[in-house]
Every structure is written in C-alpha cells, then in structure tokens.
C-alpha cells in the first residue's frame, strides 16, 4: 500500500495536487492597487479569535472617559478604563493582563462596514472580506490562508475551527481542499479522528484486521482505479492520524497544570489548544468564543446580557494574555498573528433593556504578535466611539493587512475556475504596521 501518497501536504484531500495552477495570467484584472510598497510580513500562522455576536468596542478596546448609564439613557462606556503599556491607549478595567502586555498588541479601532442588520451577513463580511454575491461564493480568510500557505507540516490540516461549522467559514470557490476541520469541544477533538472511548485498542486491531482481509481482494481487482485507491489510502491515513502527532495536540493534559490554570476555562483551553496546533504546523486556527452559559447571549449583548459582559471580557483577558505570554516563551509570537475580531461593534447608547444594539460605522479588531510593529493603535474614534476621527480601515484593508502579515501579497488574484478574483476587494495593508 502506498502510504506516501498522503504524507504530502494535503490533509483534507488526497488530490493529485494540481493546486499550483494559481499562477496569474498576464492581464488578470481588478488586482489591488499598488500595495507593493509595503514589505511582506513573515508570520507563519494565524490564531483568529472570533467573538461571535459582536464585541462592544467601547466596553473593551476602545473605552471612553464618559461612563454611560443605561437607566438614565446616558450613552457611554459601561466600565472605567485603565492605562496600558501603550501610552495614551487605554482599555477597559476588565482587561488588566492584556493592558500590561499591550505593547505586543495593535488595536485597529476604525474597522467599519454597513451590514449590521443580520448576523449572518455581517459574519460573512468579516470572514470573506466581501459583500455577499449572487454569483460567486467567496472563500473565508481561513480558507484563503490554507490555500495560499498550506499546512506547515505533513499530516496536519492547514485550517482548524473551534466552534460550529458554517459555509461562511468554508472554502467557497477554492473547493474542499481549502476547507477546515472543526471541533466544538476541546476535550473530544475533531469528530472522526478520535477513536470512540468504548473501542479498546484490541478491538480496533480486530476491526482493522477484518477490514484488511475484506477489502484485500477488492483492492487487488481494482488496483488501476485511482478513486478506490485514494479512498483506501484515506482510511489508512485516518488510522495513522489517530495515534499520530497531530492528534496529540488535543491531549491538553500533557501541559503543566499551572499553565492550564493560567489559561482558564474552556475559552482559555481553546487558546492553549491553538498554540499546540500552531506548533504542529496548522496555519490558521479560528478560536470561537461562545461560552453563552455565562450571560445567555454571549457577545451579542442586547438587553440584560450587558450586565454580565465583564464575565466574558475577563475570560478573554485571561485566555489571550496567557496565549501571548506562552507564545512568547515558545518564541512563536513573532511568527503567529493573533486577531481578535467579531462581526461588528456596538453603539454607545443603550437599548430599553439596558444592553446595546449592533453598530458598524466603527469598531475594533485587535491584532497581536505576528512580527508587526505593535505597541501602537490604528485609528481614532470620537468621544463616544461612534464616528471615525482618523485612519479609517475598511474590511478589505484589514484583510490585506492580515494577508500581508502572513506573507501573502494583497495584490494577488485567486482563481474561481478560470476566472481571476482579487484576493481582497481592493484592500491595502496598513503601512505603519510594516515599516
């Protein structure tokens, strides 16, 4: 049996990797405007922390001196702010650990778009960087990175999602090879790659022996047929993965107890897992933060959900601060871009239930590590965080920045079949983060 077929870099598909067909034809159109002045970054991985529901920027990374009062309908931040390692750039008081490490961070405070009515469309915008189109299904940022950079090691998927699967996180026109492996629970790992608990090693051996005997003559008879061979190889590869280094990433108990405690509960454990996946060569890890048992609505803090928002913010602080320190210790921080993003922000005024609605005219996406020129903020908003004062960053610009950090030129085209599609919708990287 030909095992080597799989030890190439394609994890999700044992395709005869014709994926190199990406070379741009001359005259490919619509490419980004001169992004070429910005030097390409050298980051190797991306940990994309997703705060589904819409993080309130003025209650976290763009706090304002004016404290609001829901009952009095007075707009403003919900929490007092504290100083950080970036002079003059405060964060809310529930981010104390991140505040101390803030020189490793770049809050981008002027991200903006106009789809705030419905989560699905906004989540799509912040994952694809594009408007929904009736004729093209755009790939997610994770799929683009997976497609462009592949996994950094053999037998490892390039793109892992911790959270619920959705088409928005999918590969769009790039096809299944650029897809993700997902898990909803750090303890059980991705579905299918972990042997069920009740199947002992002995029983697994019996199963595999039966399968080997059963399929032997079938494979002999069809040895010329690539699809059958491929599937059979995929079975073998699955067995090898079960005991392999990739699946060891999920054995979080290999880590010192003190470090695990430092990371905190399920969200922190996901951050820890992200580090272990990055170490094994995964390019892009989306870490979903959806601990909705804390306040019900998660980051979508309408109404009463606002009251316990700090419960989420504190967990975010603990998980992300520990991740930054841990990556630094492992000398991985410069190679790993951390992004904290959500589909939109929230306005300074309160709804009748004491929470906040959706807001898209400006909101914050936080970057950290990745070899960027950190320790500075990008963009300023007005006294209530409702309008951009300077340095607006469009969603395509944000995407161009992330791609550029990961060594992917924002001027590139992807191919939808025979059709070139610019990698971003005309975005340019934020220059000051690279020079």
């Amino acid at each position: 049996m030909n095992h080597s077929a799989f030890s190439r870099r394609d994890f999700l598909t044992r395709a005869s990797a014709a994926a190199g067909a990406l070379a741009l034809g001359p005259g490919a159109f619509g490419a980004a405007k001169a992004g070429s002045k910005v030097p390409l970054g050298k980051a190797e991985h991306c940990v994309f922390v997703w705060l589904g529901g819409g993080m309130s920027h003025i209650d976290t990374f763009d706090p304002k001196p004016t404290i609001g009062e829901p009952a009095a309908k007075k707009p403003g931040s919900y929490y007092p702010s504290i100083d950080t390692a970036i002079p003059g750039v405060p964060v809310c008081e529930h981010l104390p650990r991140i505040a101390k490490l803030y020189d490793r961070f770049v809050p981008v405070r002027t991200v903006n778009h106009n789809v705030i009515d419905e989560h699905a469309a906004a989540v799509n915008r912040m994952h694809t960087g594009r408007q929904v189109s009736g004729s093209v299904v755009y790939p997610s940022i994770g799929s683009i990175v997976a497609h462009q950079r592949k996994a950094a090691a053999d037998g490892v998927p390039p793109y892992v999602v911790m959270g619920y699967p959705s088409a928005t996180r999918g590969p769009g026109f790039l096809g299944p090879k650029a897809g993700y492996v997902y898990l909803t629970d750090t303890a059980s790992g991705p579905a299918g790659l972990t042997r069920p608990r009740d199947i002992t090693a002995e029983r697994q051996a019996r199963r595999e022996a039966l399968l080997t005997d059963l399929r032997g003559s079938f494979l002999d008879k069809h040895s010329e047929e690539r699809p059958i061979r491929d599937y059979s190889d995929a079975i073998e590869e699955g067995f090898r993965l079960q005991g392999g280094d990739f699946m060891r990433a999920f054995q979080l108990d290999e880590e010192p107890g003190s470090l695990r405690n430092d990371y905190g509960d399920e969200f922190g454990q996901r951050c820890l897992l992200a580090r272990r996946l990055v170490q094994r060569g995964v390019r892009f890890v989306e870490v979903g933060f959806n601990l909705n048992f804390v306040n019900g609505a998660g980051w979508d803090s309408h109404n009463a959900a606002q009251r316990d928002l700090h419960g989420l913010i504190r967990r975010l602080d603990q998980g992300v601060a520990t991740l930054v320190q841990d990556l630094e210790r492992q000398r991985l921080l410069d190679k790993t871009l951390i992004v904290i993003a959500s589909e939109f922000g929230r306005p300074a005024h309160f709804d009748a239930g004491g929470g906040r609605g959706h807001y898209g005219k400006c909101f914050t996406v936080v970057l950290a590590g990745g070899g960027l020129k950190t320790g500075q903020a990008v963009g300023t908003t007005d006294e209530l965080g409702m309008n951009i004062v300077d340095e607006p960053v469009s969603v395509p610009d944000l995407f161009a920045t992330i791609f550029n950090t990961l060594g992917i030129s924002a001027a590139k085209n992807l191919m939808d079949g025979e059709r070139p599609v610019p990698i971003t919708d005309g975005g340019t990287p934020v220059t000051k983060l690279f020079v």
């Binding site: 699905a120 799509n124 189109s133 599937y231 995929a234 048992f293």
Partner: protein, 904 residues
C-alpha cells in the same frame, strides 16, 4: 432586529396574569352537525380559510381560495389558478413599489374562517400532517393565515366518567354536540428570546404520553358518557398573524373509567398516544397525506394542455434515426477497435440499479430474491419495477437541488438564500412531471415562496439582481450555457455577452431591467481582454437573445401571450430547440454512466459530443415521449452500455474521441446515498431534531423556516446559526450533516452545481469509522435491524450471508464466509441473554426554542444533548456483549470497505 423590550415585559405581565394578549371576543358557537352528515366510523376533516383580506396587498401573487360553500359536498378541491401578476402589455419602466406586508390575522374563535377549501377523512382526532394546498398547475400554494382545521365524527362515549385531553400547538377547542368542553390558547408571535427553559414533562398532564412538543398546550375536560353516540367536533387554528402555518401535533385522547388514554376515534381502536403509538399513527398518516397530495395535484385540464403540447412536439421535433443506445456505442467501438468490458453480474446490477433509482440499497430479501430469480428478463422487470418506485423522487431531488441552487436557510436567510422549493422538486419527481412542464413551472415561479412552491426559486436574498442569478441557473441547467461571467462583464471565453444574460433576466422579471452599477466590473485595465459592454442605468427590454433557437413559440403553446416568463419557458422547452432535450438526456446519461456524452454537462460552449448521433437520438426520444426523463433512464438502464463493468478507462473524461463507453465510470455514492443507505442498513430512523430554530412556532417563515424531521438525507439543511450560539445547535442533525458535507453535499448552495467534487479525503472514512454517525450504524441497539437478525434462530453461516446481502448486496465469497464464521461462531449458541429490551426513557425533557435560547439554561441543555449524542445509542441487553461486539465489528468492516461506497 428585536421587538421593543418594554412591550415585551408588558406582555409577560399580561401572560403571568393569565390574560391573553389579544382580547378574545365572544366565541362563535360550534356548528352543530347532524349525525347523518358524518361518515360512519371516520373523522371528517375540513379545512376552512378566511375571506382574503382585501386592501393592503397589491401583494405578491398569492392564491385566492375557491369559494366553496361550507356545506357543499366534498367535490374536486382544485383551487383557483394562481393568477400571476399580469405583465402589462406595455410594461412600466419603474418597478412596482413594494406592497405593504400582510402578515396574516390574529386567530380568534370569535371569527372562524369559513371558506372550505379541502375535505377528507381521518381515522382519529389526531393530526401530525395536513395535506398541502395546490394550484391548478399542481404547485404548492399558501392558505389564508390563519386557517381552521375542523374534525368531526360520531363517537360512542362509554358510560361513566370520560377524561378528554386536548393537545395543540395553536388555539383548539373541543365540543360535544356543539357544547365547548375544552379550549387551548392561541399561539401568538413572540419577540422573546430569553424566557426560562420549560420542562415539558412537568407541563404535561399524563406522564406516559409522548413528550409534549415545544410550544404545545393541553386542556383537560371530563364528560359523563351514556353509551350513546355523540357528535364530537374539534376546531384547530393553524398559523396566524406572524406565525408559520403549522399544525404541530394536534390530538384528542380519551380515558374512560380510569383506563389508559387512547387517541379519540369513532372506532375506539386508535393507539395510545405514547411515543410508539403516536409515531406509528403519524407515520401512517404521513403516507395517507402523501397519497392525498398526489391526487390533489392532478388536474385533467392541465394534463390535457400538456398532452396537446406533447402531440405537437412529436410533429415538430427534429427527427433523429437510430435503434438503440448499444448500436450507437458499438459503431464507435468498432471504429476505435476497442473491446467492450464484460457485463456486470446480477448482484452488482441490482445494487447499481437500486442506487440509481431509489438512492438506497436493495434489502437483503430483494437481493436474495433477485439472485434466485431465473427469469431471462429479470433485469428488465427490475428496471420497470424500480422506475415506478416513489423513492425515485428521493434519489433525484438532491440532484436538482444542486443544479437549481436550492438554498434555503433555517434562520434569517441573508446569504443568497432561496425559498425551500425542494418540496416542489420532490412533488414533481413523485408525479414524474414531463420535463417541459417541470421547467415551465420553475420559470413561472408561482405558488408558495416560503412553503415549498416554485416561487421559492424567485427568492434570492441580498442580491442586487435576483433575476440575473436565476437566468444564470436556468441557462446552465437547461441550455448548458455557463453565463456566470456575463453577470458582470461580457464572457471572454464564450460567444455570448452580458446583454444576453440581462435579456433573459428581463424576461424573467417581466419588466425592462435597469443595469445596476453594482453589477458591472469596475477597475479594468485598459488592455484587459474582459469587456463591460453595458452602461449603468441602461435599460434592457427583455427578448430572447439567441438566434439558433426559434424566438417565437409554436402557436398555442402559451396560454398568456403577454407574459414574458411564459414565453421564455415555451422557447426553452420548444420541440424545435433540440438543445434543451439533449442537455437533459446528457445529464441523465452522466448521472447513470458517470461520464457525459458532452462534457461538462452544464457548459457545452467549447466542447463537442463524443457520439453526436446518439445524443441527437436520445434528445429526440425525450421530445417524442412526452418529455418523460424516465423514458431516457429506461433506455439507458436496459442498455448493455449501462450494464458494463466500471473501469479506470471508463472513469476518464478525456476528450470526446477518447470517450468510447466501452465500460462505465467508477462512481462513488452521492453523499445522500451514503447516509440513506447506512440508515437503511441499520434499519434506523435519522433521529434528528425538528429542523427549525423555532419549534414553538412563534415566528414567521420570513425569519424562521421549518424543514420538519428529516427521513431522507436531501431533507437536511445547513445548520449554522451564524451567531455561534450553542443553544441553537442541532447536535443530532449535525452528526448527519457532517457526514453529508464531507462526502460532497453543500450546506449552502449559493450557486448551481452539476457535478460534485468526489475526491477522497481523510474525514470521509474517519467519520464513519469513529464518528457519532458511524457509531449509530454499527452499535447493535434494540432498534437496530441487525439485532433482530442476530436474535433469529439460524445457522451462523446464514447470519453471515444475510449481513453481506444487507450491506454489500451480495453473498460472501467462500473465503469471506469462512473468515466471518470464524469470527462469529465462538459462543454463537450462547449469544442470547434472555434479557428484555431496554426501556427507553426521556433523556432530555427541556424544550429549547428561539423564545428561550438566550437563557443561560438553554446552552446548558444543549451541551447535555451533545454529551448524549456522543454517548451513542445504548447497546441491546439481549445479546451477550462479547459476541455482540464481534458482530458490530463485522458491520464496521463492511461499512468501511471501499466496496461499500463505490457503486459496483
């Protein structure tokens, strides 16, 4: 967007105080029906609609119920034709303003809907399914919101105290001889999303009954019986203002003299409404309703019209001579000097044919019977039998879902979503509608947009030019013209330009079409080979753009000459348009043989047929046989070309000269076939949740769809809630969609696709080998079909044979039999424990719904369910564990073998 919280808290207060929000006026009396008017031993069911609400809607085409007097005899219930909004002869340039949204009326017993639009008989006062309403053309249409279901029957009520229990999702009242005994509250639209999570078991009156479904209420009454017949009437509202029109699980049960509750029926022999009783009753009802719906879709007038068209088609079709598929293929083989591959054996043939017709495997008995059959024409007989099988619709619905980009969302669709026109596709396939009619119905886009009519095809959320997207789908599906590029600029590698697509779009829109700026490619370099020939704001009138197809339909082909949609449909399906029939025949060929005569099947622009005479003849066959695609399938199935072995050479698409069809292609099961076949192997139901995020039915279909409880894989839908809210997860359905997705099914079908990616990947076998889905297929629980086989007294060799037939549709070879007998013979005689099957208890009795999903408890409940799903189905205690595990391992190995997922 949420409702005002102040109003919400106000309504909560009112609810707490036990006050209905909408003040109920004085209820209308229950009509007293004379006993003689009711069918003996049966429940008469009438469906009554409201007088259409006038004013506010210059609305989208909706059906007007046929005015039938309430007491008219149950005659033909063909509703009025769907009057599509008339295309003005001189179309206005401005699109008509959006009609004021009519959201239905609040239901109240003070005002009963009184226009009878359907009537039929049931066996008991219990309803899990209602027949849909159909237009004259046989497509699903909406009823008034709300409508009323009135069930009445003569029932003898035993002497002494009778307890009567009403269960309903919506306002329902029970009356005996016109006197109301019990009423359940009306459902009202709710803006809440953080209510406490109710425990349904605590809510229900009788613990042994099936768990009270979410959002349902009960009302209990007592009635002193006298052993005499009485007229029982149950009136149940369905839907209402801002609600989906769902019946839920409506039932009346009776307990006499302290005995167990039974569903109330005139004959007194209806099942107990416990879990098993309700399921068996509802399943039988589902089948009855499906049969009724088939009948209701039939309309002699409509059929006469199509017959006349087909007669004309035979006269105008471009003749193509030929004798049989095999003759055409043999000629090519002789020329290329290629020897054909041998024919496949009977077992392989039956498995291949079953998957191609029903989408599932033959049963062990079907396989054994077919192998034992000595008739010379048994293959042809099997073909005829399976072409009649109604599961044909289940096999082919997912194909058209892909090709036509059916893309409904469960929650607030904003990602190029359509309506759920899957139900129309399925209906059309059940009826085997002629393909010209199928395409005409699709192009007319009539009927219900949100509940399964072809109007759902017209929907395209967040699209600046929906009809351009639809024109693109239609042209690739039925003309094999890939016009995707033309959406934004002239197609560089195709002969058509952007204006051609916009012409088709304008015909679909029924008005001239203004080119939006957002639809044009911007920022092209000067020397780009891509050209944008349209100008923003330019108006396209809408005419048939292609010269090689007659642009005027045959006289009499269309019924409303002024309607550009009808005209477009007639041109597409015109018998002189040979391309249409050939594209369809080629699609069928590709699905059954694995490689098309023309490739790719959806874009013929730069390719030629490998067998031009054959494709012409197949197209001619389709046109002259009433556009019946099953006729083409029958020709293919009966050919030796179809019945040949699959080889590597047959799998290569190559160029047209290389395609000799000396053998067939190696085809992998479609994702749906993998899932459906494995559930069939296990003899298990899917066990998925109700596919909606609002099982309480307190939300409108515009934001919350309900796809029901899936029975076949095509009924699944993408489960993402795009908010990452664990409380909205469907852990059971997720195990199925995970498998589907890894085998090539799309959770979002934003664009049409004719050929799926069938590359192997690690997760495919891994999910079967280790996943929760695979675990359910292999684990021998009490409800597993192989458990029953294992319990049977028979030699171990027979058991091995039967499992092989069941999973691989063949008998084991000698060596294989020996191997598995060796596995299962030890302790075979002692395998039975004599234990009773497990009593299955409710595990989770809390009802998570939209109304409470933001309550922290909702997340906890779903996390518990996720744990349960991971634990899997409990193993049967009736088999010794050590032996049972060995049989499970046999199933596991058969399922994992590549032989399982590749068609023979």
């Amino acid at each position: 967007v949420r409702s005002n919280p102040l109003l919400r808290s106000l309504s909560t207060l009112l609810l707490l105080a036990g006050i209905a929000i909408a003040a109920e006026e004085v209820p209308a009396p229950v009509k007293v029906i004379a006993r003689e008017q009711l069918p003996p031993g049966k429940v008469r069911v009438e469906i009554l609609e409201m007088t259409p609400t006038p004013a506010p809607k210059a609305a989208a085409p909706s059906a007007t119920p046929a005015p039938v007097a309430t007491d008219a005899p149950p005659a033909p219930f063909v509703a009025q034709p769907v009057v599509a909004k008339a295309a003005a002869t001189k179309p206005a340039v401005k699109p008509t303003p959006k009609p004021a949204k009519y959201d239905g009326d609040e239901s109240t017993f003070a005002k009963l809907p009184d226009i009878k639009t359907d009537e039929y008989e049931e066996s008991a006062f219990a309803m899990g399914y209602l027949p849909a309403k159909f237009s004259e053309r046989g497509v699903r249409i909406d009823r008034s919101r709300p409508f009323l279901v009135r069930s009445s029957a003569v029932v003898v009520l035993p002497p002494g105290e009778n307890k009567l229990l009403v269960r309903a999702l919506t306002g329902t009242r029970l009356a005996i001889d016109g006197k109301v005994l019990a009423t359940t509250p009306h459902a009202r639209r709710s803006g809440r999303d953080d209510m406490p999570v109710p425990d349904q078991l605590e809510k229900q009156n009788v613990p042994s009954m099936r768990l009270l479904p979410p959002g349902h209420n009960e009302a209990l009454a007592t009635f002193e019986g006298d052993g005499q017949p009485h007229v029982v009437t149950v009136e149940s509202f369905v839907g209402g203002k801002g609600l989906r029109p769902e019946i839920g699980e409506m039932s009346v049960s009776i307990s006499s003299a302290g005995g167990p509750f039974r569903l109330l029926s005139p004959t007194g022999d209806a099942p107990e409404p416990n879990e098993a009783g309700w399921r068996s009753y509802a399943e039988a009802q589902r089948e009855r309703v499906a049969a009724m719906e088939r009948q209701r879709r039939r309309n002699p007038g409509e059929e006469a019209y199509w017959n006349a068209r087909h007669q004309k088609a035979r006269q105008h079709a471009k003749p193509a001579t030929g004798e049989s598929i095999d003759k055409f293929i043999a000629a090519g083989l002789a020329k290329a000097r290629v020897e054909p591959a041998p024919l496949i054996g009977d077992a392989a043939f039956l498995r291949r044919l079953h998957l191609d017709t029903t989408g599932v495997l033959p049963t062990a008995k079907e396989a054994a019977d077919f192998l034992a059959d000595t008739a010379a024409d048994k293959r042809a007989l099997a073909i005829d039998r399976l072409l009649k099988d109604s599961r044909w619709a289940d096999r082919w619905t997912p194909y058209w879902q892909d090709v036509l980009a059916e893309n409904p969302a469960m929650l607030k669709g904003t990602l190029s979503n359509t309506g759920p026109f899957r139900w129309w596709i399925h209906d059309a396939l059940v009826d085997n509608k002629p393909m010209d009619r199928f395409v005409t119905e699709l192009v007319l886009m009539e009927g219900s947009a949100l509940y399964g009519g072809p109007a759902g095809f017209a929907v395209s959320t967040q699209n600046d030019l929906p009809m351009a997207a639809k024109a693109q789908v239609l042209s690739s599906a039925f003309m094999a013209m890939e016009m995707k590029c033309a959406r934004c600029h002239d197609a560089p590698s195709h002969s058509f330009n952007q204006e051609d697509l916009f012409n088709l779009a304008a015909m679909l829109q029924r008005t001239p079409l203004k080119v939006p700026e957002s639809s044009l490619t911007k920022g092209l370099s000067v020397n780009s080979h891509v050209v944008v020939s349209l100008k923003p704001g330019q108006s396209i009138e809408g005419h048939w753009p292609f010269k090689d197809v007659p642009g005027e339909p045959l006289p009499g082909a269309i019924r409303k000459a002024s309607d550009s949609r009808e005209k477009l449909a007639a041109i597409l399906t015109d018998p002189r348009n040979a391309r249409f029939a050939q594209v369809l025949a080629n699609r069928m060929w590709k699905e059954l043989i694995g490689v098309g005569i023309v490739e790719p099947v959806d874009d013929w622009e730069n390719s030629s047929p490998s067998h031009p005479e054959l494709i012409a003849w197949l197209g001619y066959q389709l046109v002259t046989h009433n556009y019946d695609l099953k006729h083409v399938a029958r020709l293919i199935f009966n050919s030796e070309t179809y019945q040949r072995e699959a080889t590597a050479a047959g799998t290569r698409i190559g160029n047209q000269d290389e395609r000799t069809f000396a053998s067939t292609a190696r085809r992998r099961m479609r994702a749906e076939q993998v899932v459906d076949s494995l559930f069939q192997v296990a003899g298990k139901e899917f066990g998925c949740e109700l596919l909606t995020m609002d099982p309480e039915d307190r939300q409108p279909a515009e934001s919350h769809s309900n796809f029901g409880v899936p029975r076949r894989a095509w009924e699944l839908v993408g489960l993402a809630n795009e908010r990452d809210r664990p409380a909205l997860a469907k852990p059971r359905a997720q195990t199925v969609t995970d498998v589907l997705a890894t085998f090539g099914w799309r959770e979002s079908r934003a664009e049409p696709r004719s050929t799926r990616d069938h590359e192997a990947n690690v997760l495919q076998p891994a999910l079967l080998a280790n996943g929760d889905f695979g675990g359910r297929i292999v684990r021998l629980s009490d409800d597993h079909a192989v458990t029953a086989v294992a319990l049977r007294e028979q030699p171990v060799e027979k058991l091995v044979d039967e499992v092989f037939l069941r999973v691989l549709s063949r008998l084991p070879a000698e060596k294989e039999r020996a191997r598995f007998v060796e596995l299962l013979a030890p302790a075979y005689g002692e395998r039975l424990t004599g234990a009773a099957p497990l009593q299955r208890k409710h595990t989770n009795t809390k009802a998570v719904s939209w109304a409470n999903h933001l309550h922290p408890d909702a997340t906890k409940v779903i996390m518990e369910v996720e744990k349960e799903v991971r634990a899997g189905d409990p193993a049967t205690p009736r088999l010794q564990p050590a032996w049972r595990e060995r049989l499970e391992d046999m199933l596991w190995a058969l399922m994992l073998s590549p032989e399982f997922i590749y068609l023979p």
